[in-house]
């Protein structure tokens, strides 16, 4: 099942399906909210934000409350704004 999904994603990547950037974006956004709104641990949030297909890398800047994640050639970032408005998602491309 997982193998089929990965194969599908490779095919979708090659045809630039709009869903591809979502892998990194969903991780960055949900990880940011988990860490800086909910205040959970890195371990918990990594598990919570991960989908069936994992991101290839991610980093967090605790001082600036900023998260970035990469998957399938796409980079996405999420920035904590403040307590009232939580995290915002910034989608970029390599």
């Amino acid at each position: 099942m997982k193998f089929q999904l990965i194969l599908s994603l490779i095919l979708l990547t090659s045809c630039k399906h709009p869903i591809i950037p979502v892998v990194a974006a969903s991780f960055a956004k949900e990880y940011c909210s988990c860490r800086f709104v909910v205040g959970q641990t890195e371990k918990y949030c990594k598990s919570y934000a991960s989908q069936i297909v994992s991101v290839s890398s991610f980093s967090e800047d605790l001082n600036n409350k900023y998260v970035s994640a990469a998957a399938f050639g796409h980079l996405a970032s999420s920035q904590f704004i403040n307590k009232k408005y939580g995290c915002d998602l910034i989608i970029e491309k390599f």
Binding site: S8, L12, H17, P18, I19, P21, V22, A25, S26, K29, S33, V37, V38, G39, Q40, T41, Y44, Y48, Q51, I52, A76, K83, K84, Y85, G86, C87, D88, L89, I91
Partner: protein, 368 residues
């Protein structure tokens, strides 16, 4: 793990530094209900499952009869509401449209004129509250990410302006004819809400000024899309006890400290099944529910039908979210039942758990 069987005093200060409601909104029970609550607890906090429960809060007649937090979550931890957010969005729509003396038949094309061309018949605010605009949508998170519109609005360039994206989609049926649960409908409503303000700064603080602060709900977070519209479908975070305050507003028919916060008629209408939800055969866990103004209802549409949760009263109304997030209100018992968890696959058996909670609550005697 924190395990609290009885309520604690909860003196609070609102986000703006203004005093919230008097300390001790929730009564501290002098009794322990450990025995009555054991069965529901063993279901909710089972260690044999892939899912986990982070919080359960059960209140009867303003008395906390059970409260437990787990997995690093505590009394003051903000919880993700996911789609429970939709019911809070509904309250704000009710407040704003009442303030502006606009009926719920107000057409959404007033705010999104492109819908005049896309829809064969005017779509009203009420149609959207009933999830029956007829505008195309594909809901679904992990189950069908490749075709999911909700994934697109939350995590792709469509996040820039979710309401405009929804308004750009074609109509599939006449308004009011077909129920289809759609995060797009909620975000279109929230987009319309934003357009009712001339001053964006007034819009930015509206939920706090009109709802959260008056109810003494502290540390509420509400994330926004790229256009500054509150993501009403999914992204409110608040403490379990603050969600209980919101629920109490509905039990009190919109009154808070003798002041009307939300119109009682709006609350009444919110709990009447929308016609489309009775006409449409729904798939999934929610198939037998009827649906009001962004609330799941256990009311039967007709005597020939069954209710969704057959062992619970027809008056039960619920707000349900991704990961098994659950808010159930039993008006006859004056009871508020809240569960937060982590359950991507949706395996938590809400019905089984709520049946146990309801049976326990019937046994428990607390003075009003």
């Amino acid at each position: 793990m924190i395990f609290i069987l009885i309520g604690t005093s909860n003196a609070q200060v609102s986000q703006e530094g203004l005093p919230g409601p008097a300390p001790g909104l929730w009564t501290e029970s002098t009794s322990s209900f450990e025995r009555q609550m054991a069965a529901q607890e063993s279901i909710a906090f089972s260690t044999k499952e892939k899912w986990s429960t982070n919080a359960v809060l059960i209140i009867k007649n303003k008395t906390i009869v059970f409260e437990r937090y787990d997995n690093g979550f505590e009394l003051d931890t903000p919880q993700r509401l996911w789609s429970i957010s939709k019911s809070i969005s509904s309250a704000l729509i009710g407040m704003r449209w009442k303030e502006l003396n606009l009926g719920l038949n107000d057409p959404i094309s007033t705010y999104y004129p492109q819908l005049k061309d896309n829809s064969p018949k005017p779509i009203s605010i009420k149609n959207l509250l009933h999830m029956s605009s007829g505008i195309d949508w594909n809901e679904g998170y992990e189950s069908n990410p490749l075709k999911s519109d909700v994934v697109r609005i939350l995590y792709s360039d469509k996040r820039a302006d979710m309401a405009t994206y929804k308004a750009s989609l074609p109509s599939r049926s006449l308004p009011g004819q077909r129920f289809y649960y759609s995060s797009g409908e909620t975000n279109l409503l929230m987009g319309a809400l934003s357009k009712t303000f001339q001053d964006p700064k007034e819009h930015e603080v509206y939920p706090w000024a009109k709802l959260f602060n008056p109810l003494g709900m502290t540390d509420v977070t509400w994330e926004r899309d790229g256009s500054g519209t509150f993501i009403g479908s999914s992204y409110i975070f608040m403490k379990a006890r603050d969600l209980a305050r919101f629920s109490l507003l509905y039990l009190q028919k919109g009154l808070w400290k003798e002041k009307e916060i939300l119109d009682k008629d709006y609350i009444r209408d919110s709990l009447i099944p929308g016609p489309a939800s009775c006409l449409t055969h729904q798939k999934s866990e929610t198939q037998f529910f009827s649906y009001g103004h962004h609330w799941w209802l256990n009311k039967k549409c007709s005597t020939k039908e069954r209710s969704a949760f057959v062992k619970l009263p027809g008056s039960t109304f619920l707000a349900l979210g991704h990961h098994g997030q659950t808010l159930a209100i039993f008006p006859e018992l004056g009871a508020i039942v809240i569960r937060f968890g982590a359950d991507k696959d949706g395996n938590f058996d809400r019905e089984l758990w709520l049946n146990e909670v309801f049976n326990s609550l019937k046994e428990i005697k607390v003075e009003i």
